[in-house]
């Protein structure tokens, strides 16, 4: 039996969350396999002459009953831009499910989830799936300004929400690593998870390492195949060069050469 699939999904929603982030929902007419936070789909970008390869996107939500996969597409380049133009009712080809999930928290863990840029989706998915009481889950989201943050108020039922913005227009001013939740409370968490721009994750990893806190990051290295054959998305680790698509995208920071 296959473990991975290539299938055309029906696009059932494409809505702008703000100027650069879009929520795209796709539905399969067959049952979905189990898909967990951190895992991703590789999406074909059609009708774009200059785009040859698929584009990987973290899974944001899965509705097992309706066989719907949601993703938050942030416009980062021509591929993601083209994808945000897709019409409801059209088809979208996905390769799925790809990659590995996070180490799930145990019942008495207190966790911090830090998301920035295109890395917000898997953090929200993990918050929802963690099964922990709200008081033990903190989500810290970073963006340039209020306009760049997406509205995640509905996640209040799963976590305490904290915001950082570079211009101070939402939450505390500065980077996520300058936020009080991070600077004063880091050691109070038993697990820290992060996904976002490389610089952000490296800064978080550095502090988490110094504080000796368990920390996993989800990497966004450039990919071609997404299933471990092209060896293009490699990350140097203590176990050698590993494919982010199959050995990750989630890595423990102690395994990385950061």
């Amino acid at each position: 039996m296959p473990k991975k699939f290539v299938k055309e999904f029906n696009v059932i929603e494409n809505s702008a969350l703000n100027a650069t982030n879009f929520l795209i929902k796709v539905q399969s007419d067959t049952e979905l396999p189990e898909i967990k936070p951190g895992q991703f789909v590789n999406v074909e970008i059609k009708e774009a002459e200059e785009i040859f390869l698929r584009r990987p996107f973290s899974v944001f939500e899965v509705d097992k009953e309706k066989n719907v996969i949601s993703m938050i597409v942030k416009i980062l380049g021509r591929g993601s831009r083209k994808l945000t133009e897709i019409k409801v009712g059209s088809k979208l080809s996905l390769v799925y499910p790809l990659g590995k999930t996070f180490t799930y928290p145990s019942a008495n863990d207190k966790i911090l989830l830090i998301g920035g840029g295109s890395g917000v989706a898997p953090m929200l998915f993990l918050a929802k799936e963690s099964g922990l009481p709200v008081e033990n889950v903190d989500i810290l989201l970073g963006a340039r300004s209020k306009e760049d943050h997406i509205n995640v108020d509905s996640y209040k039922q799963y976590a305490n929400l904290h915001y950082a913005s570079e211009d101070g227009s939402l939450g505390e001013k500065g980077f996520v690593t300058q936020h009080s939740v991070f600077t004063t409370n880091l050691k109070s968490y038993s697990k820290v998870y992060a996904c976002g721009p490389d610089g952000m994750m490296r800064a978080i990893a550095k502090e988490a390492k110094a504080a000796n806190v368990f920390c996993e990051v989800s990497l966004e290295n450039l990919m071609a195949c997404g299933f471990g054959v092209c060896l293009c998305c490699i990350e140097p680790t203590t176990k050698g060069n590993l494919c982010v698509c199959t050995e990750g995208p989630v890595f423990n920071i102690n395994d990385l050469k950061w």
Binding site: K4, E44, E50, F52, L222, A224, F227, V229, C230, I234
Partner: protein
């Protein structure tokens, strides 16, 4: 019923569709999508005598209708393959062919001797055309004396089917093909990637850590097709056609130009199921054209 079987030297493929080295891992990865036995064979990831970490990231750049790669033969070495991978794939009902690489002739010989002992491996693909390694690789494949020397020495220690993979980065690929044929190659496979380059104009930096890399994908198909046709007309040994094959029609074009077997490469990054669709498409073509066998396509170009 049409017969999809084709022969390459003395080994039989259940159909002409195989996967290209460097794009199908060790056949286990695509087995997560489809039954390995659906394809004629797999040219496994380029293997060296010892572990190689490959080149630094970034190793890939998307280009119009294709991509550049600069992986640099990352693999764990032949002993790891024999101990850990071979037992896992040995029962796949398909041809498994090892792509053999070396920095020196001695490396090629030592590696080939080990591969010669593996019962299920009926052929090797001697890679003298990797553009992404500093030593060996393409250096052997861009001159007739270099190509002749490696082929001759490996021929001495290998008694099964020897396929030599040729580089397109030469003035006349037919000359190299004739040179390796003269030293006992049983078949040639072509083409490996074309040396190319991509630049980030905004940053004024190369997109690959190695500056240059190998171009693959449909962008190279017409050139690869021309080379397969030229080589098929220049040698008596069979030809394995490679280069930008995305569809059954592409595969059939390579066979008409003279290829006995074809390899699908970069296409599977776009859709891992493409090779299976190509097998179905060839079958459909044969039926539509009232042909009995896939082997009737080989070299059937009417000029």
């Amino acid at each position: 019923m049409v017969d999809l079987k084709v022969k390459l030297h003395d080994i039989e493929f259940k159909n002409p569709v195989t996967l290209a080295s460097g794009t199908c891992g060790f056949a286990r990865e695509t087995a997560e999508f489809f039954e390995p036995g659906l394809l004629g064979g797999y040219f496994l990831k380029g293997t060296t005598l010892k572990n190689r970490d490959g080149n630094n990231y970034p190793r890939m750049a998307e280009t119009p209708s294709g991509m550049l790669n600069a992986v640099g033969l990352q693999n764990k070495g032949i002993d790891y393959f024999i101990e850990n991978i071979y037992p896992e794939i040995v029962d796949y009902d398909t041809q498994l062919i090892i792509n053999v690489n070396g920095s020196t002739v001695e490396d090629y010989i030592a590696l080939t001797e080990k591969v010669n002992e593996l019962d299920k491996i009926n052929a090797i693909e001697l890679n003298i055309s990797c553009p992404n390694v500093k030593e060996g690789g393409m250096a052997f494949g861009v001159s007739c004396p270099g190509a002749e020397m490696v082929t001759r020495e490996v021929r001495k220690v290998y008694d099964k089917t020897l396929i030599v993979k040729l580089s397109p980065n030469v003035t006349d690929i037919s000359e190299i093909a004739r040179a390796v044929e003269g030293q006992g190659a049983d078949a040639v496979s072509l083409v490996n990637t074309f040396l190319g380059m991509a630049i980030d104009a905004e940053k004024r930096e190369p997109l690959l850590s190695t500056i240059t890399g190998g171009l693959s994908g449909p962008a190279i198909k017409p050139i690869a097709l021309r080379m397969v046709w030229q080589v098929a007309n220049a040698v008596k040994i069979p030809v394995v056609g490679i280069g930008g094959i995305m569809t059954a029609t592409d595969a059939i074009e390579f066979m008409l130009a003279g290829a006995s077997v074809i390899q699908v490469g970069t296409a599977i990054f776009k859709d891992p199921m493409i090779p299976v669709k190509i097998v179905e498409g060839i079958e459909d073509y044969l039926k539509r054209h009232n042909m009995q066998s896939a082997s009737e396509l080989i070299g059937a170009l009417q000029v």
